[in-house]
C-alpha cells in the first residue's frame, strides 16, 4: 500500500513563501526568547522562584470561590489554575517570600472553611528559591547551545559543514517556533517545556538528516542534475517516509496529549507542535538553505 505514489511536488519553488512563514515564526520565537529572561512571560516557578501548592478536591468546585477565599485571606499575587476534571487546583505564588509551610498552614484552614462540604488533600507542594531560577535559566541556555554545537560538529564530520549549518539553523528555527507559539498561547514555560524543546530539537534533526542523506546520495549518483531539481527529487523520494514517521509519532503524542494526564499535557503539546514544525522545517527550511550557499556544486559533496 502507498499513500503517496511518485510525487513530484516542487517544494523548492515554494521556498519563498516558506521562508516568509518561517521568518514570522522565528521572530515570534525571538521575541519570546528575549522577553523570557526579562520575566515578561509566563515562567514556571522553577525559573522565577516562588511557591506552588496543588490541591485535589473530592468534587468539582467553582474557581471563583477559590479566588474569593484567597482574596479574603489576603494572599497577594496568587495565580490559580483549575485542571480539566474540575477537581484539581493549582495555586502559584511567584517571586514569593516566606515559608512554604507557613503558607500551606494558612491555606489549609481557609480552604477547609470555605469548602466545608468538599474535602481536599494537598497533592503536591513546590518551593524554589530565587537563585535556583537564575541558575536554571543559565543552564537551559547552555544546554541549548551545547546541543546545537554537538550536532553541528557531528553533521560537519558526516556531511559537509554546509549541511551542518543548515540543519542547525532549521533546528533552531523549530525550537524558536514552538517557544513562540507557547508564548502567544501564554503557556507556562518551565523545566519540562525546556526538556521538550531539547527533545524536539533531536527529533527535528533526525528528520533533517534523513532528507540530507538522500540529497547526498543523489548528488553522487546524478552529478549532472540542477541542484534545485535534485533537492526536489530527494525530498519527494523520502516524502512518504517523512509523512508516515511524523504521522505515527504524532499518533502517540496525541495519545499522550489526550490521556497522559495534566502533569505532562503541555510537555506533550510542545512535542506535538515540535514534530509538526520539525517535519515542515526539514523540507522547507533545511533543504532550501543548502541552495543559499550552493556556490560551486562540488562543495555539497564530500
Amino acid at each position: 500500500m502507498d499513500i503517496l505514489k511518485d510525487t513530484k511536488i516542487d517544494f523548492i519553488g515554494k521556498r519563498h513563501y516558506a521562508f516568509g512563514l518561517s521568518i514570522i515564526l522565528s521572530i515570534m520565537g525571538i521575541i519570546a526568547a528575549v522577553l523570557i529572561p526579562l520575566g515578561k512571560a509566563n515562567l514556571g516557578i522553577d525559573f522565577t522562584g516562588g511557591m506552588a501548592i496543588q490541591l485535589k478536591f473530592e468534587k468539582p468546585f467553582a474557581l471563583e470561590d477559590a479566588r474569593k477565599i484567597l482574596d479574603k485571606e489576603n494572599f497577594k499575587d496568587a495565580e490559580l489554575q483549575q485542571f480539566a476534571d474540575g477537581n484539581q487546583l493549582l495555586i502559584r505564588f511567584k517571586n514569593a517570600e516566606g515559608e512554604l509551610k507557613a503558607t500551606s498552614d494558612r491555606l489549609t484552614p481557609a480552604f477547609a472553611n470555605g469548602f466545608a462540604d468538599n474535602k481536599f488533600i494537598i497533592e503536591s507542594t513546590t518551593a524554589v528559591g530565587p537563585t535556583v531560577g537564575k541558575k536554571l535559566q543559565k543552564d537551559a541556555l547552555w544546554a541549548v547551545g551545547i546541543l546545537l554545537l554537538g550536532i553541528l560538529i557531528y553533521l560537519a564530520l558526516r556531511f559537509e559543514l554546509i549541511f551542518g549549518i543548515a540543519a542547525v539553523i532549521a533546528t533552531f528555527h523549530d525550537v524558536l517556533a514552538v517557544l513562540g507559539v507557547f508564548y502567544v498561547l501564554n503557556k507556562e514555560i518551565n523545566l519540562l517545556i525546556i526538556t521538550a524543546l531539547l527533545t524536539l530539537a533531536g527529533y527535528s534533526l533526525t528528520d533533517t538528516v534523513v532528507v540530507f542523506d538522500r540529497i547526498r546520495e543523489n548528488l553522487r549518483k546524478r552529478s549532472k542534475e540542477v541542484l534545485e531539481d535534485l533537492i526536489n527529487r530527494s525530498i519527494n523520494e523520502v516524502l512518504s517516509r517523512t509523512i508516515i514517521t511524523s504521522g505515527t509519532t504524532l499518533l502517540v503524542l496525541a495519545a499522550l496529549l489526550i490521556a497522559g494526564g495534566e502533569v505532562i499535557h503541555d510537555f506533550s503539546l510542545a512535542l506535538f507542535l515540535g514534530v509538526l514544525v520539525g517535519t515542515y522545517s526539514s523540507i522547507f527550511v533545511a533543504s532550501p538553505l543548502l541552495l543559499v550557499w550552493k556556490g560551486k556544486r562540488g562543495r555539497l559533496i564530500r
Partner: protein, 528 residues
C-alpha cells in the same frame, strides 16, 4: 536453516527472555514470584513524581561555615599562646578574620613568630596599632568550604538514617548544594525540621546581674546577648516568648556529648531528652555546676533557649536533661539531631518539591493508559499499512519495549513521568527505522529487483541514515542528562536506552525475520 539465521534468532530469543526475566520483578506480578528471584534482581525504581515523596535542594552557608571554623580556631590559638607563654591581650574571631591584640612591639614579634610557626594556614592581612588581623589562606578557605559541605552531607545522612526513611538519596550538587530525595515520605514538615536544623547545642550562664529591662530597650551589656525561650501552649497553640539575658561565652557545647535519648519524666509524664557527656564534657559540667550553684544555666539550641534551670548542686556523672514543651515526636527528633551532631554551617532550603502519593498514582495510571493507546494505534497502523512486513515491525516494537524495560530494570533506572513519555516517544521513533527500511525496500522493488535483493539493498542503503538519525538523538539525550535534574534525567535515560535498543531491533531483529522468510523459498511478491 542456515547457521547464521539460527544464531541470530537464538540471540534475539535470549535477549527477549533475559529482558522478561529482568523486568518481571518490577511489575505487579512480582508478588507471586519466589523471593530468591524478586529480592535479588535489580528493579526499576519509581521517581518521586510517581511514588510521592520529597525532593530538597539545600544550600550550605559556607561563609558562615568559615566564621564558625574561625571561632573554633581562635580558641585553639588562645590555648596555644597560653601554653607557649606568648604575651597577647586578646584573640577574637570577627567575620572572616581573627584579630589578635598585644601590648608592645616585643609581644607583636612573638605573636608573629608563633603564628608563622604554628599556623601556616593563616596570613596577616592588616595591622592597626596594637593589633593584627589574620585570615585563612585561599586554599585553606576553599578547603574549609568543601569540608563544610561534605560534613553537612555526612551529618544529614546520619540524621536521615536514624529517622528511618527507605532508600534516601543524598548527594552533593555543584560546590555548596546538597540534594536530598526522600521517596514515599509521610511527614515532610517533620523531615524538613530534622534536616534543616543546624543543631548547635550550647550551655551558657544566665547573666543574673544584668538588667533585662534595659537590655530589651537595646542596652545589652558587653559580653551578653538577648535570647528567647519559645513555649507553645499545647492546648491553645499560642506561643509565649520569654526573654533571657545570657552571657555570650558557652561553658559547654554539644560536641562533647556521646549520647542523647528520649526519656519520660515520671512526675509530669512529659518526654524530655537525656544527654550524656564524654569524659571531658562530664568534667567541665561538674566544674561549672559546682562553681555556679543557685545560678541559672540556659540550655540553648540554635540560639533558642530550651530551658534555664537553676543549678541546685554540683552535677557529676556527666548527665543532663533538656526539657521543654516536647511532644514525643519533637523529643525524638531532637535526640536524633543531637546524636548525629551539629551541621558545620547552617543550610538553606532553596528548592522543595513534595509530591503526595495520590498524584503519583494518577500520573502512573494516565501515563500507562496513554502508552497503551499510543502503542495500539501505532501497531494497528503499521499492520494496516505494511501488512506482513508491518507485522514484522510490530514484532520488533514489542521486542523493543520489552528490552527497554528489561534494560531499565538492569540499570536500576528511575522511571519518572517524563520517562514514561520518553518510552512512548521511543515507540514513535522506533517505528521510524522500520519505515525507513520498508520505504527503501519498496523503492528498490520498483526498480525491478527481486524480493531478496531488494530487502538486502533496502537494509544496506538505510543503514547509514538510521545510524545518523540515532546518533543525533543520542547527542540530545546526553545533553539532557547533563543538564537535567530528577525527572529530566529519567527522561534522558529512557530515551537513550530506547535508542540503542531500537538500533539493535531495527538492524538485527527485523532483518533476521526477513531472511528467515525468504531463505526457504523464492518469494515473488513481498507483502509490504
Amino acid at each position: 536453516m542456515p547457521k547464521s539465521i539460527m544464531w541470530r534468532l537464538v540471540l534475539i530469543g535470549f535477549f527477549f527472555l533475559l529482558a522478561v526475566a529482568l523486568f518481571l520483578p518490577s511489575t505487579p506480578f512480582s508478588k507471586s514470584l519466589p523471593s530468591w528471584y524478586k529480592d535479588n534482581f535489580p528493579k526499576i525504581a519509581l521517581g518521586l513524581d510517581l511514588q510521592g515523596g520529597m525532593h530538597l535542594v539545600l544550600q550550605v552557608d559556607t561563609e558562615k561555615g568559615i566564621e564558625n571554623h574561625l571561632q573554633r580556631m581562635s580558641k585553639g590559638i588562645d590555648g596555644l599562646f597560653r601554653e607557649k607563654k606568648v604575651a597577647f591581650s586578646e584573640i577574637k574571631a570577627q567575620g572572616h578574620e581573627v584579630l589578635i591584640s598585644y601590648q608592645n612591639e616585643a609581644a607583636k614579634t612573638a605573636v608573629e613568630k608563633a603564628m608563622g610557626d604554628n599556623y601556616p594556614i593563616f596570613q596577616k592581612v592588616s595591622e592597626k596599632g596594637n593589633s593584627a588581623a589574620y585570615t585563612l589562606t585561599d586554599t585553606e578557605t576553599k578547603r574549609i568550604k568543601e569540608w563544610s559541605t561534605s560534613q553537612a552531607i555526612e551529618t544529614i545522612r546520619n540524621r536521615i538514617d536514624k529517622f528511618g526513611v527507605t532508600e534516601p538519596l543524598i548527594h552533593a550538587q555543584g560546590k555548596d548544594e546538597i540534594v536530598v530525595q526522600l521517596p514515599g515520605l509521610k511527614d515532610p514538615d517533620r523531615a524538613i525540621a530534622l534536616i534543616g536544623k543546624t543543631a548547635v547545642l550550647e550551655f551558657k550562664m544566665v547573666d543574673e546581674a544584668g538588667d533585662l529591662k534595659k537590655a530589651l530597650d537595646g542596652q545589652i551589656p558587653e559580653g551578653d546577648e538577648l535570647l528567647y525561650e519559645r513555649r507553645v501552649d499545647t492546648e491553645s497553640g499560642a506561643v509565649r516568648q520569654t526573654p533571657f539575658l545570657i552571657k555570650k561565652e558557652a561553658v559547654l557545647t554539644g560536641d562533647l556529648l556521646t549520647d542523647a535519648r528520649v526519656a519520660i519524666d515520671s512526675q509530669f509524664n512529659e518526654p524530655y531528652v537525656s544527654i550524656t557527656f564524654d569524659s571531658e564534657g562530664s568534667r567541665i559540667f561538674a566544674d561549672v555546676t559546682a562553681q555556679n550553684v543557685n545560678k541559672r544555666m540556659a540550655i540553648i539550641l540554635d540560639k533558642n533557649v530550651y530551658s534555664a534551670p537553676v543549678i541546685r548542686e554540683k552535677i557529676g556523672g556527666g548527665r543532663a536533661q533538656i526539657s521543654g514543651s516536647f511532644t514525643h515526636e519533637t523529643a525524638t527528633d531532637l535526640a536524633i539531631v543531637l546524636r548525629a551532631g551539629a551541621l558545620p554551617a547552617p543550610v538553606n532550603i532553596i528548592q522543595n518539591v513534595t509530591v503526595g502519593p495520590s498524584l503519583g498514582e494518577d500520573s502512573i495510571k494516565a501515563g500507562v493508559k496513554a502508552a497503551v493507546i499510543g502503542g495500539i494505534l501505532v501497531l494497528g497502523f503499521m499492520l494496516f499499512y505494511y501488512r506482513l512486513s508491518g507485522l514484522i515491525a510490530d514484532f520488533a516494537m514489542a521486542l523493543n519495549i520489552t528490552m527497554l524495560l528489561g534494560a531499565m530494570a538492569w540499570f536500576n533506572a528511575t522511571l519518572t513521568l517524563p520517562g514514561i513519555a520518553g518510552i512512548i516517544l521511543t515507540i514513535g521513533m522506533g517505528v521510524d527505522s522500520n519505515v525507513l527500511i520498508f520505504e527503501r525496500i519498496k523503492e528498490e522493488l520498483k526498480t525491478g529487483r527481486t524480493v531478496r535483493s531488494a530487502i538486502d539493498a533496502g537494509y544496506d542503503r538505510a543503514w547509514w541514515t538510521i545510524i545518523d538519525s540515532h546518533v543525533t538523538t543520542l547527542i540530545t539525550a546526553a545533553v539532557l542528562f547533563q543538564f537535567g535534574s530528577g525527572p529530566i534525567k529519567g527522561f534522558a535515560v529512557s530515551l537513550s536506552i530506547g535508542i540503542l535498543i531500537n538500533l539493535f531491533t531495527a538492524l538485527v531483529g527485523t532483518k533476521v525475520v526477513f531472511d528467515f522468510i525468504t531463505q526457504r523459498r523464492r518469494i515473488e511478491r513481498l507483502s509490504i
